[in-house]
């Protein structure tokens, strides 16, 4: 399960895609996503798939994107089987294609955009800082949470309890392991709240930012092309 989160983790790279302004990338991904959601035409879907390829390659996200898709493989197969069962081969294939494309777009966006940049983009769209702060801290907490779960599972196993026995026993074991997890996470949250207060969080309404976002020529180009193509295709 941690595969999904690992695959969605941003990696520091210096590529043309990483350098793009998060706002232009947002516009791009919303446009492409709209196209994927609205169309049922396999030709347009193929076109969208082709248009994603340069992003994946330039953003050096190929292996991670495949990792993300691989971790969803089981889910995708079930989805495909159900769709085929209810709607037949043709629609089943297209619906699954749409799902895979939509998740790929999300993946590409988060693989090439740091969560801080994403938050800054949201802030510049007048979404309150408190909201984006929660978003950023919870996203950053995910890997820590996985380490903690690993440690707690290890500690449980080290007490000589076999986890692999019956399903019922397994579920009960997981319930037992939740106790320290909840305690540890609650404590961490409380400590963090105090640390934030100690650093005067919320003292000033108006905030300045350390890293300012700037749009450059490629950003404008990307936005104009995405919006133009999307409206064009949808109107046609």
């Amino acid at each position: 399960m941690s595969g999904i989160f690992q695959a969605l983790q941003w990696v520091k790279e210096d590529t043309p895609i990483h350098r793009l302004d998060p706002r232009s990338k947002m516009v791009w991904s919303i446009c492409v996503l709209l196209m994927v959601i609205l169309t049922w035409d396999p030709f347009i879907l193929a076109l969208v798939t082709l248009s994603l390829i340069p992003f994946v390659f330039l953003g050096k996200a190929t292996s991670r994107l495949f990792q993300a898709l691989k971790s969803m493989l089981f889910f995708v197969i079930i989805l495909f089987a159900l769709e085929v069962l209810y709607f037949g081969w043709y629609f089943g294939f297209i619906a699954t294609m749409k799902f895979v494309l939509a998740t790929s777009i999300f993946s590409i966006f988060f693989l090439t955009t740091h969560i801080d940049d994403f938050a800054a983009a949201l802030n510049s769209l007048r979404i309150p800082f408190e909201f984006t702060f929660v978003l950023v801290t919870s996203a950053k907490y995910i890997p820590i949470l996985f380490w903690e779960i690993q440690d707690i599972t290890d500690a449980y196993k080290a007490r000589g309890i076999e986890l692999e026995k019956s399903v019922w026993k397994r579920i009960r074991s997981y319930a037992t392991m939740l106790v320290p997890l909840i305690i540890v996470t609650t404590r961490r949250a409380l400590t963090m709240a105090e640390a934030m207060e100690a650093r005067a969080f919320g003292y000033q309404r108006k905030r300045t930012t350390y890293r300012q976002l700037h749009m450059h020529l490629p950003d404008y180009a990307l936005m104009i092309v995405s919006v133009a193509l999307t409206t064009g295709i949808i109107l046609l």
């Binding site: 707690i152 500690a155 449980y156 196993k157 080290a158 309890i161 037992t176 540890v184 404590r187």
Partner: protein
């Protein structure tokens, strides 16, 4: 006779991380008191997690009591090697101290009376019997750590591994902990201590193993390991204050061989007597 724990050319790497162990060879016998020391990221915890099978070797092997850890479950190994984790909060699952200690017994085939006898025994052994019906979270850091040790001890393992047991303990609790460990060692159990605390390790252990960058740097009787100042500092460690004192005495021409508080005091008194007579 072969050792209780044998580590042979052990290599290990975490997924997506750098290599953590590169060729570790180590033998630990029954009844030993070993301190494993080294800077953060040296591979100490990774090494000891192999002793009860929480981690499995990538290459090489680890044998505990003749069992290859690769083919043995953690549950089976935990009867032989008890592991006390760094953070006691991660290992306390139950609502009372008594139930906490009983948890490890649930996987063992024991009669009820035997279980009760063992629980009573470790509660007294670690001085936590007055907290029997308390919630483990309501205890102090040191008491919690003793409950964690009790919960491992109740399974009667031949070896107890403690990862950074002195962390966040006050002086008195540390004293109490060293008393507990000395007693467990006298009962014939092997103790493996993973620690940064040189004073604590020097005080209690007989043998020190230093690690750096996934390899063992030095391994031997504690005085010998600490005395090699270059090698000891290569593991990111600073010799205990007693050693610094001993070195100062040596510089004044006193022949020091016993590095304990008592040994050094006698030497010092001898020396100051000589000075006065002059």
């Amino acid at each position: 006779m072969s050792s209780f724990i044998t580590v042979h050319d052990l290599h290990f790497a975490y997924p997506n991380y750098v290599t953590a162990l590169r060729g570790v060879n180590l033998k630990i016998d029954k009844g030993e008191f070993v301190a494993i020391m080294g800077e953060n990221g040296a591979g100490k915890t990774t090494l000891v997690k192999h002793f009860n099978g929480l981690l499995k070797p990538k290459s090489g092997y680890v044998k505990v009591d003749g069992l290859d850890t690769k083919d043995t479950t953690v549950a089976e190994l935990s009867k032989r090697v008890g592991y006390v984790f760094q953070n006691p909060l991660y290992q306390l699952f139950s609502e009372t101290v008594e139930k906490e200690i009983a948890l490890g017994l649930s996987g063992m085939n024991l009669s009820e009376s035997e279980k009760a006898r063992r629980i009573d025994e470790v509660l007294i052994e670690l001085g936590v019997e007055k907290f029997r019906n308390r919630h483990p979270l309501m205890l102090s850091e040191g008491e919690r750590r003793r409950v964690a040790i009790a919960s491992v001890l109740v399974m009667n393992p031949e070896v107890i591994v403690l990862d950074e047991p002195t962390l966040a303990l006050d002086f008195l609790e540390k004293k109490r902990l060293s008393g507990v460990l000395t007693r467990l060692h006298k009962e014939g159990r092997a103790i493996i201590l993973v620690t940064h605390d040189v004073e604590f390790a020097f005080d209690l252990s007989e043998r020190i193993v230093t690690m750096s960058n996934g390899k063992i740097l030095a391994d031997g009787p504690k005085e010998k390991v600490i005395n090699d100042k270059m090698l000891f500092s290569a593991a990111g460690l600073v010799e205990p204050q007693l050693f610094q004192l001993a070195r100062n005495l040596q510089a004044m021409g006193v022949n020091v061989s016993d590095f304990s508080v008592e040994g050094l005091s006698t030497k010092f008194i001898e020396y100051s007597g000589k000075v006065e007579r002059k």
